[in-house]
Amino acid sequence: MTLILYIDDELTLLEIVSEELEDAGYAVIKANDGNEGLAQIVEHGPDLVLCDIALPNKNGYELLRDIRKKYPLFDHMPFIFLTALADRERVIAGLREGADAYLTKPIDFEILLATIEASLRQTERVATNDRDFKLLDS
């Protein structure tokens, strides 16, 4: 089962969105701040991370940077921002920082689910590619 990590300090939203993701067939683990988020990533190796930006202790940008810099193991793991910071500059900066998608709150669930599917498809494509190349080598 595909494992999603959702990080948000807004507990109500954390609960509702997790329920929705579980209903859609994903397993969900939750975190409240950047530090907790990083710990969960390292411990559980989720298939996708959904992350708020304005978090206490370590914000979304910092978390993304940390992962990309220190944990090449998770290079293929899609990282999606889900944030109320909606200005144009922030969207561009977030994507350039290395996020695979940038979604703004309030979020339409169908868009959220479709974006998650698209990102996971991309991972699958890369994995298939790797496998094919390995086959060629052998």
Binding site: E10, T12, L13, I16, E20, D23, P56, D87, F109
Partner: protein, 427 residues
């Protein structure tokens, strides 16, 4: 008057070339004196005599320069007992051998003369003196005038420099304020979207479950509660923002009436607790007066702001303590949290509009809540006190006078600062 022989000669033999020469010399505008090769006076004109009235009787044809010098020196010594006769005499005698080419000298009576001396062929000496007293005076006046002008320029320059410094400071402050306002707008956007996100998510959830006939009544009720909390949160935010804006335009005031202070405090705590799942609000009141003169809705607003902050800035500790007691003729209300606290150096600025302390990084907020609270407290004639330790939490205490605001003029300056932070306020 004792005229010298030369002059007498001029009168008796006008046709001789000597006489003509002497007439000519008499008519020039400068003082003229001629000595022969042996240093003896040949002639001088009246203007020369006029320069040395005290030498009347000394100048006569045939007198030697040395004798003239001695006579000069004696007169000077008479005038000034400390005058060094020998030194002067020696020096002047030396000078006799050396014609003085264009030097300035001051006479005993204060007038100034320019002296030009030339050797003539054959060994004699011509000495011409011009009265430059007027020139000297004009020079001095010009110098004084120039000095005066320089002083004026210096003063003006200093003033300009101070003005430039003030303007620079004002500009810096303006820019800082502008930046803070920009951040406020960005934050406000975020602050409004977050509760909207909760409302929208709850509504979508209910909708999707209902579409699948999976929505249980209990669940619907819970989601609706969530929606109402979020609406409440947004309402408070909008009210704070609007009030802050109105205050800036001078359009808001407090309506002082008999206020059931205990009732207000308890109501605010209860309402806040209802929408807060993460914290436990302890509310204790002791010996409060039945009523005080205050504006109930303003007191509610400011208490709400303090409570909201206490909750927001203590994500790790669920305790919030609200205590209220009476102190002489005031009511003291404290809101205490055990959260992230405020850096020592940020504490004096904490009430500034749009200001966000360093410890607030990562926690969304607009920077107007405390400014508004402080303004409202001041409009009641009260005061706010902050105790905080980074990492240990904060306590905000407000004192409200039972008798309401008496003399707002005292607080007017503070009010102006809070509501309209001016450039160059010296922070």
């Amino acid at each position: 008057m004792t005229a010298i022989n030369a002059k007498v000669d001029v009168e008796t033999t006008p046709r001789s070339s000597q006489a003509l020469l002497e007439q000519a010399i008499e008519s020039i505008s400068d003082a003229f004196v001629l000595y022969d090769a042996d240093g003896r006076l040949v002639m001088c004109n009246q203007k020369h005599l006029d320069f040395f009235p005290h030498m009347a009787g000394i100048y006569r044809r045939g007198i030697s320069r040395k004798e003239v010098i001695r006579a000069h020196a004696e007169v000077r010594r008479m005038d000034d007992p400390s005058f060094d006769f020998e030194a002067y005499f020696e020096e002047r005698v030396k000078q006799v051998l050396q014609p003085r080419d264009d030097c300035e000298s001051q006479l005993i009576d204060g007038r100034w003369v320019a002296i030009r001396e030339r050797m003539v062929s054959g060994g004699g000496l011509v000495s011409i003196r011009t009265d430059i007293t007027e020139k000297k005076r004009a020079e001095k006046e010009l110098e004084e005038h120039r000095d005066h002008l320089q002083e004026l320029v210096d003063i003006a320059t200093r003033r300009l420099r101070i003005r430039a410094e003030n303007l620079e400071q004002a500009l810096e402050k303006e820019q800082e304020l502008s930046e803070m306002q920009r951040q406020f707008v960005s934050m406000a956007n975020h602050e409004i979207r977050t509760p909207l996100a909760v409302i929208d998510a709850a509504a979508q959830r209910m909708q999707r479950k209902a579409d699948r006939d999976q929505l249980a009544p209990g669940e619907a009720a819970a989601k609706l509660d969530t929606i109402r909390s979020a609406v409440d949160r947004m309402t408070h935010l909008m009210e704070s923002t609007l009030n802050a804006a109105r205050m800036q335009d001078g359009k808001i005031g407090v309506v002082i009436e008999d206020c059931d202070i205990e009732g207000v405090i308890k109501r605010v705590c209860k309402a806040r607790q209802e929408i807060t799942k993460t914290h436990l609000i302890l509310c204790e009141t002791k010996d409060l007066p039945k009523t005080i003169l205050a504006d109930p809705s303003s007191v509610e607003q400011l208490l709400n702001n303090l409570l909201s902050n206490a909750i927001k800035f203590s994500p790790g500790d669920p305790r919030v303590e609200v205590t209220a007691c009476a102190d002489a003729d005031h009511v003291v209300i404290s809101v205490r949290d055990f959260g992230i606290g405020i850096d020592q150096e940020d504490q004096p600025r904490i009430g500034e509009r749009f200001f966000r302390a360093k410890t607030s990084t990562g926690i969304p907020g607009t920077g107007i809540g405390l400014n508004l609270a402080m303004t409202l407290v001041t409009m009641h004639g009260g005061s706010m006190d902050i105790e905080s330790q980074k990492g240990a939490g904060s306590r905000f205490s407000i004192r409200l006078p039972n008798a309401g605001p008496k003399d707002l003029k005292m607080h007017q300056k503070l009010l102006d600062e809070l509501v309209n932070p001016k450039a160059g306020s010296g922070r």
